[in-house]
Structure formats: structure tokens, C-alpha cells
Symmetry: C2
Subunit: 204 residues, 2 copies
């Protein structure tokens, strides 16, 4: 029973995939700092040196996790866009952005942390750029006179709101539950984006 199905001497026949899966499981349980290569090897049932056959370093493993995180994030954002009628797209995507951060806090933090290096890792950089694209497009549509500025402002808002919520920084601000708080803020923000961001601001 047990030995007949086992492909080789060890696990799944694919240690790299097994390590990544274990890393995702461990991430939100222990946080990024608790995600050690030794502990990961232990969990998968392999020696401390074995992961180095598949990842050059702990950082490389974290970057692989972050890339997969950005891909899931992009897929979620694009699905949200596809399932929402156009006038409400930006609000819906803003809410989805923040909710992703709240549902997978450690993964979200890792994706935007200095522990992964987007300058050195081209695949990671591309995954991050792709993740930005869908939100940016929806935001730019709301501010056709200044599309790139509108996109960055929208990104900054949703990213900042996510970070402040993750850091428990908004506890004293509102008694509402986070769902309605997020919706309320997103609607107000988008309304402001539509009406006021576009005109060229006075320099003084």
C-alpha cells in the first residue's frame, strides 16, 4: 500500500514543489520570520542541506513565494474586474486589494518587503509590475486628463490602507467592522479621484 505508490525514495518526487507548498502553509501561521529553511526541510522530511539543491538561498525561496503571491494577486484582481460592471470597477478593485492583504497578511507583507529584491530578480519585478497594471488601468480610466498620476494616487491609497490595517494602526479610528469601513473609504476616495485630481494643480 504505502511503498507501491511512492515514486522514488522520498517525497512526491518533486522536492522543490513540496518546499514551496510547505512555505505557503507556514507563511500565515508563523509569519515570514518564522519561515526558516531548516524548519521547512524538517516539515518536508529532508536534511537541512537539501533545499539548496533547488534554491540558492533562503532569500531565493522567499522570492519564489512572492512571485507566486503576485500571480495569485493579479489573477484575483483581473477576475474582480471582469465580474464588475464598469462604473463600479475601481471601487470593487480597491476593496479587493485591501481584502487580499487582510486575508493573507504575511504573504502580502512579504510581497512588498525588502526581504525580496525586485531590482535583482527580474521575474519578481515583472510579476509586481503585472499586478499593478490592472488597478492602474482602472484608475487611469477615471482620470483621463492625468492617467499616470491618477493610477499612482489610487495605488498609494489602497496600499496605504492595507498596510495601516495590517499594522493595527486604524483600531482607534472607527468602530465599524473592516468590511464596511473599507467600502466607505473606497467609495469616498474614488469620488474624490473623479472630481478633483484631474485639473492641473496650481503650483502655489
Amino acid at each position: 500500500m504505502s511503498t507501491s505508490d511512492a515514486p522514488t525514495g522520498y517525497h512526491h518526487g518533486d522536492l522543490k514543489r513540496a518546499l514551496l507548498e510547505a512555505a505557503f502553509e507556514m507563511l500565515d501561521a508563523e509569519g515570514t520570520d518564522g519561515l526558516g529553511l531548516r524548519e521547512l526541510a524538517r516539515k518536508v522530511g529532508v536534511s537541512p542541506a537539501a533545499p539548496y539543491r533547488h534554491f540558492r538561498s533562503r532569500q531565493a525561496l522567499l522570492e519564489a513565494v512572492a512571485i507566486e503571491g503576485f500571480r495569485r494577486f493579479s489573477a484575483m484582481m483581473e477576475a474582480k474586474q471582469a465580474h464588475t460592471p464598469e462604473p463600479r470597477q475601481l471601487v470593487a478593485m480597491a476593496e479587493a486589494y485591501v481584502r487580499f492583504a487582510l486575508v493573507q497578511p504575511a504573504l502580502f507583507r512579504l510581497m512588498f518587503s525588502q526581504q525580496v529584491d525586485k531590482r535583482a530578480n527580474k521575474a519578481l519585478h515583472q510579476a509586481a509590475v503585472d499586478a499593478y497594471a490592472s488597478l492602474a488601468k482602472a484608475a487611469a480610466r477615471e482620470v483621463p486628463e492625468a492617467p499616470s498620476e491618477g493610477a499612482v494616487i489610487a495605488w498609494a491609497f489602497v496600499h496605504g490602507l492595507s498596510m495601516l490595517l495590517l499594522d493595527d494602526q486604524l483600531l482607534g479610528v472607527s468602530p465599524q467592522n473592516s468590511d464596511s469601513l473599507i467600502r466607505n473609504l473606497a467609495q469616498r476616495f474614488v469620488a474624490g479621484l473623479r472630481t478633483g485630481v484631474a485639473p492641473n494643480p496650481q503650483v502655489r
Copy 2:
């Protein structure tokens, strides 16, 4: 010469202060992860166990640094407010917020990281709340119909912009230097805040 001025057997007569000063020096040079208790002890010329006379743990030391960071941040923000005529206060403070993050990136990151625990450390929580107050007041003044929402939206924007800049996430977005980029975005954002955030948003 050398022994006559030395107060006691060791440094300054105040190891706690010496450790904190060394921590601030090391922060932006090495980042928070490079800020180890042993290395700190080495730098100050003391045994690895000595810091534990003054800080219960490495985390406690980091929280002391974060508290001091929030105090400097608050002082800077209030000075900015005091030196700026009212109609331009919010834009000026938004710029100052982002610039603080860019000038002391590791300190700013530490202040808003999960490495310090605002739920467990009351002094830290208070320092963070105080830092929020001045920006929130200026933002609420711009949106009298919805002051708390306006304050949170403004905070989210400046915080998100800071984080995205620190993470090198905005590199491909604009060719401008960061000073004029920040100013441009802050002006547009505040214009939108003034004109569009206040009205009660429609639910659909």
C-alpha cells in the same frame, strides 16, 4: 588623559543611552535585520549579556527605538504645520511625511513593522497615535463633512506613497525626480480630497 575623564569603569555611565544611540547609528546603515543585540553590545564595548540589564529582549530594544522615531516624526510634522500658512498645510505635511520615510527608511519601516507590537506596548501605541494626530487634524479640516474618513484617506495615501517609494515600486512610473513627483501627487490628491470626498457616497 584617558582615565581621568572616564566616569566609571565603562561607557558614559549610561549603557542604556549608549545602546540606543548605537542602534540609531546602525539602523539606516544595516537595516533592522542587521541590528543585533550582540553586534550592538560589541559596538558599545560590552558583553553579549549586558544589554539585558536594560532591555528585556531584542524586541524591547526595537520598540524603544520606534518610540523615539515616532517622537521625532511628530515633532517634525508639527514644526511643518507651524511654519506653513493654513491653505497649504495639508500638502506640505503630506510631502513632509513621505520625505521622512525616504530620509530614514529603516527607521520608518521599523515604526510600522510587525517587529514592534503596539497592542502590547502602551507607550509605543501612544507615540503612534500622537504622530497620527497632527496630520489627521489638518486633513479633517479639509473635509469638515466627513472628518474622520478624510483623515484616514489622507493617511492611507501618504503612507502608501511612502511605502511604494521605499520598496522601489514606483521606479517605472515616472521619470521625474522624487521631490517633484511627490509634490505633484500630493497637490492633486489634496485637490481631490477637497472637492470629492465629502459628499455621502451612493451605496450602489
